[in-house]
């Protein structure tokens, strides 16, 4: 395997990691008003929220996966970074605005005791979950379908590119999937009563995800969707995605929350290999089936070798301390835990 492919895999790992971890954050943010347990106010600190309690210790470590993705894209694939972000300008701006608001709102919500301020922060938290989920779905849809790349390599999406049935359906599917994923996480982390409620909500959301996901699938099968560069790989990955959704529903209904969450993790991660492997060697494709290849997107080989020397050490270290943080805060949430977000 060449060095470029390895870095592409790392880039994919970071994006998939972000979809899995940021995905349940956004899902929880979306659902948090519905998953509020009976909690008491005490010494000026507003009541805890079951759903937000579940993500609390991991929240700050989750969002950075996106920053690492952007950093690695800039370092290893600068030619992709420039075109992709400026081309998707309106969507990226929307994602970032949602992200900033949601991120700050989660950290600051309980610093204000007044009920009115609480509601405002709560609304921002929901927006901060909805906007990135939906817009990431649109981005996935656009990148699968292809972007209107010009001769000089740059592109700009307009309303006409986004408002197509395929892209919109991808957006809706992703938003629903993230919400279901968040519900599965709350089911895993919360006390039994709230876990049961989250499980029911998650099941309903998975039903909806499955129903909406049929639309892009049918569009693709009937030729109104994307033409994948590697149709077999794409078909296999889509089948896996469908299996993950079914598995998640199966286990969630039966109260096997650990397995259900593992399945929603797979489902949220799979769009990334679908994009990467489905269109390989293109990292950015046009509807006509050509585009920017890995080879042209990658940085100079001297820089890549240098980055690789760092990457060999850094990536295992990062994975190790992230895993440590998950391990250190394992188990269901309870009142014994430090209480902050």
């Amino acid at each position: 395997m060449s060095l470029e492919t390895l870095w592409l895999a790392l880039l994919g790992l970071l994006l998939a990691g972000y979809f899995v971890l940021g995905g349940y954050d956004y899902g929880v943010q979306l659902l948090h008003p519905l998953l509020d347990g009976e909690q008491q106010e005490r010494n000026g600190l507003a009541p805890r929220n079951t759903a937000l309690d579940a993500i609390a210790p991991f929240f700050l470590g989750n969002e950075v996966w996106l920053v690492a993705f952007a950093g690695v894209m800039f370092g290893a694939f600068p030619h992709l970074e420039g075109t992709l972000l400026s081309g998707l300008h309106p969507l990226i701006v929307a994602i970032l605005a949602g992200l900033v608001l949601g991120n700050a709102a989660i950290q600051l919500r309980r610093r204000t005791p007044s009920a009115r301020a609480q509601r405002r922060w709560g609304a921002l938290i929901v927006c901060g979950g909805a906007l990135p989920s939906l817009c990431w779905g649109l981005v996935i849809g656009l990148l699968l379908y292809g972007v209107p790349r010009r001769a000089d390599g740059s592109f700009h999406i307009g309303p006409g590119d986004v408002l197509t049935p395929f892209v919109l359906a991808c957006g809706a599917t992703t938003a629903l999937l993230f919400a279901a994923h968040g519900a599965a996480f709350v089911a895993l982390r919360s006390a039994p009563q709230q876990a049961a409620r989250a499980g029911q909500l998650g099941t309903a959301l998975l039903n909806a995800t499955g129903a909406v996901a049929l639309l892009p699938l049918l569009l693709t099968l009937f030729g109104a969707g994307p033409t994948m560069t590697n149709p077999r790989t794409a078909a296999a990955l889509t089948a896996l995605l469908a299996a993950a959704l079914c598995g998640a529903r199966w286990w969630l209904v039966r109260g096997r929350h650990g397995r259900a969450f593992a399945a929603t993790c797979c489902a949220t991660a799979l769009p990334v290999p679908l994009l990467g492997a489905g269109h390989h060697p293109y990292v950015l494709i046009t509807p006509s089936g050509t585009g920017l290849t890995v080879e042209h997107a990658v940085t100079d080989s001297a820089t890549l070798h240098l980055l690789s020397a760092f990457g060999v050490v850094l990536v295992p270290v990062i994975l190790a301390y992230q895993a440590w943080s998950w391990w250190a805060f394992r188990g269901r949430t309870s009142h014994r835990h430090a209480d902050y977000f």
Binding site: P78, E81, S86, V93, L99, N103, H156, S325, A328, R330
Partner: protein
Amino acid sequence: MTAADLARLQFAATTGIHWLFVVLTMGLVPLVAALHTRAAYTRDPARRAVRERMTRFWGQLYVINYAVGIATGLVMEFQFGLNWSGLSKYAGNVFGAPLALETLIAFFAESTFLGMWIFGWGRLRTGVHVTLIWLVALTAYASAYWIMVANGFMQHPVGHQVRDGVAYLTDFGAQLTNPSALVALGHVALGALTTGGVFVAGISAWHFARGTGEPELFRGSLRLGVWVSMLASFFVVVVGELQMPVLERTQPMKVAVLTGDGVAALQEQLVREHGPGDYVPWQDTLRISMDAMTLIGNTVSTVTLVAVILLRKDRLVRWRPLAYLMTAMIPLPFLASVAGWIVREVGRQPWLIYGELTVEDALSHVGTGALTVSCAVFIAVFLGLAVTNWTLITRFARRGPSATQLGTTDPAEPERPTVPSY
């Protein structure tokens, strides 16, 4: 406004606001780490309790401030690609590496460890918990280092070769030791410590003047804040001066504007070298910023030096106006550090990469409409968050240690063993 003006305004405003939170983060985190360590290794239970409250009080203010720091920081990594794609086209091979390494080495670790520190009270062993906050401090400064390496390349491009209009990395060591990065890092770090020290001293003095009833806690804090700000503000002026020889060598135009000497001659020379164009940055803005920074630096340095002497027997806070003077100084280091950035970045104009790529040439082909919207959205969101956040910091600072929320567990519930359930 042209597209270039809008993109510049967006970058300057978002980076400037982000920086106001970063500077306090960097200034407070070593102090919080030191306080936490001292609390952890105090045997006497009464003193230990005071020191732990002290850690949580300052830690609370640090964490509130960090909330907006990280939220705005998420945007920064995307700014170059959104509006300045010419930068990645020209220098992506060189400029991307330090940014990638910053995220992997520093940002990732800082955020993960801070999350663990916030929720680690009563859950992690003391030694591990204290180590975490030190790791947060270390990675905050590591982050500053890599950002300064990237910024240093924009100020004084080294370690690369230009072939067919594209820059290639040839000497990474030269990038890492770029004097334009290292001296500035020293200046920035000391500026941040000054900010943190003045912040701690100012709030402590206010509580003394008001007699809020925590003399022991705030006496220790005042001492720490005054000493840190005295030492840091002395050296920040010294290291600031050290930058002048570097600037004379690398950015003669900036020096010419600051000293008001030889601007016209340099402009002619640059026209000969790079073709027609205006190579003079905004002169008045630059000079006013420089004067403001110098004035504030010297003022803070002098006042804190006197304050150190007056620390004996609480003389500093016994006379109220003096205590309030310490509080009134809190905004000054923030103003100085923004002025410093203006000198550095406005003084770099019209270059994005000094002598090689102009700001105009680096602009993405994004329509003015899209830029107006993104500019308005980001500035509104950032300003709104900044004002809200400062209101919250002020409220928590005034209420004192009894209102601290950081590290509290619910005493109302009976303790239940938590068994991992999966």
